[in-house]
Subunit: 225 residues, 2 copies
């Protein structure tokens, strides 16, 4: 899943991106409102993490524009202790959650996860399908009672496919969800590679990744569970 972090303080942004990156999110960082607008214009994000204090304006303006444009992407607002009215205002204007600085990175990670699953209509961080169980918090994949070791990229791909199960996902969309702008030069072939690797690990899970030539991939129940 792909996230946008709108934060001007470089080391803070870096810390957030590193933390969420370890949680298997592909993160883009925008240090200004202008950058943020460019990002949302060309990329769909699962969640936007938005600092209110930015060099070229207030994050609330950005949020308001976003909502007026019909964009319903979940937004988590970061505020300083004293910005109470700004915080309230942000929620009124369409923010989905907020966090007061300084905050624990793990808490941020948890709240971001809550927002991602809200969009998928789930109540917890477990996704089960067939004999397969994916735990987004622990970042583990189980088939039946057995834990199957999987790498970060494999899990990220699985999360994307699970969130869109039954639907054909174009390779481009998988690519966008797996990599951020920093990895822009990665060959498109990589998606196929990770599909192949993930397929091996899903053997016997009752879940299969179907290929639809020219269209994309689709995760669905199969008979082999």
């Amino acid at each position: 899943m792909r996230l946008l972090i709108v934060e001007d303080t470089a080391d803070v942004a870096e810390a957030i991106a590193a933390s969420l990156g370890r949680a298997n999110f592909a993160c883009d960082v925008a240090p200004t409102l202008a950058d943020a607008r460019d990002c949302v214009a060309v990329q769909d994000y699962a969640v936007i993490v938005l600092d209110l204090n930015l060099p070229d304006g207030c994050g609330r303006d950005f949020l308001r524009d976003l909502r007026r444009g019909g964009d319903r992407t979940p937004v988590l607002v970061l505020t300083a202790q004293f910005e109470v009215t700004a915080r309230v205002g942000a929620l009124d204007e369409g923010a989905d959650d907020y966090l007061v600085k300084p905050f624990d990175l793990r808490e941020l990670e948890a709240r971001v996860r809550v927002l991602t699953r809200r969009d998928a209509g789930r109540a917890d961080n477990l996704i089960a399908l067939g004999r397969l169980v994916y735990d987004a918090t622990a970042q583990t994949l189980r088939i039946g009672d057995e834990v199957v070791p999987a790498t970060r990229r494999e899990l990220a791909l699985l999360a994307l496919l699970l969130a869109n199960r039954g639907r054909i996902m174009a390779k481009d969309r998988l690519y966008d969800g797996l990599f951020n702008f920093d990895n822009a030069d990665v060959g498109t072939n990589t998606v196929e590679l990770y599909v192949a690797r993930l397929r091996k690990k899903l053997a016997g899970s009752g879940v299969a990744i179907e290929t639809h030539r020219g269209l994309g991939y689709r995760l669905e129940l199969s008979g082999d569970g």
Copy 2:
């Protein structure tokens, strides 16, 4: 969906057409303003991608003429880094978006998609008729609860017929929607072929493709659902 790419540098145009072609857009390339005028005279486009620097004039003139003629086709302008005033001018004259060269092809594709969505103006990508449900986002065709695998061309044809359901569509118009000028040597027979293939997959859907000799095809409810 059919796009026009107005760009004189052959390899750039080719790269754009290839990228957008993979995204299921049928692309025509016009290397000069004169060619572009010929194209828009005979064909409706979903989006026009317009380079400003052309051998026989400035793209802004073309854009201005287009708008004066009442044409509202979304236009995405390509500009060089230093052409700031041209960029602003293009927006004033009716461009819908711009991209500064050099750009990422995926970014172009994303922006083109935004423009096509804006024009369609519907958030719901489901089209239902009889027992048939076509999901344009997921690129899936369902009959009742069962997903019927279909290829890109078949889905493109179905989308065209659904968008014009109840109306007779001339074979030429179907042909234009499925292929671009580069595929001009494709036999006209192909439309009939894909109609036949699609018919097989629509069996039992309560929807039928009627043949109207000498006129074209028409998608309509039938009794077999």
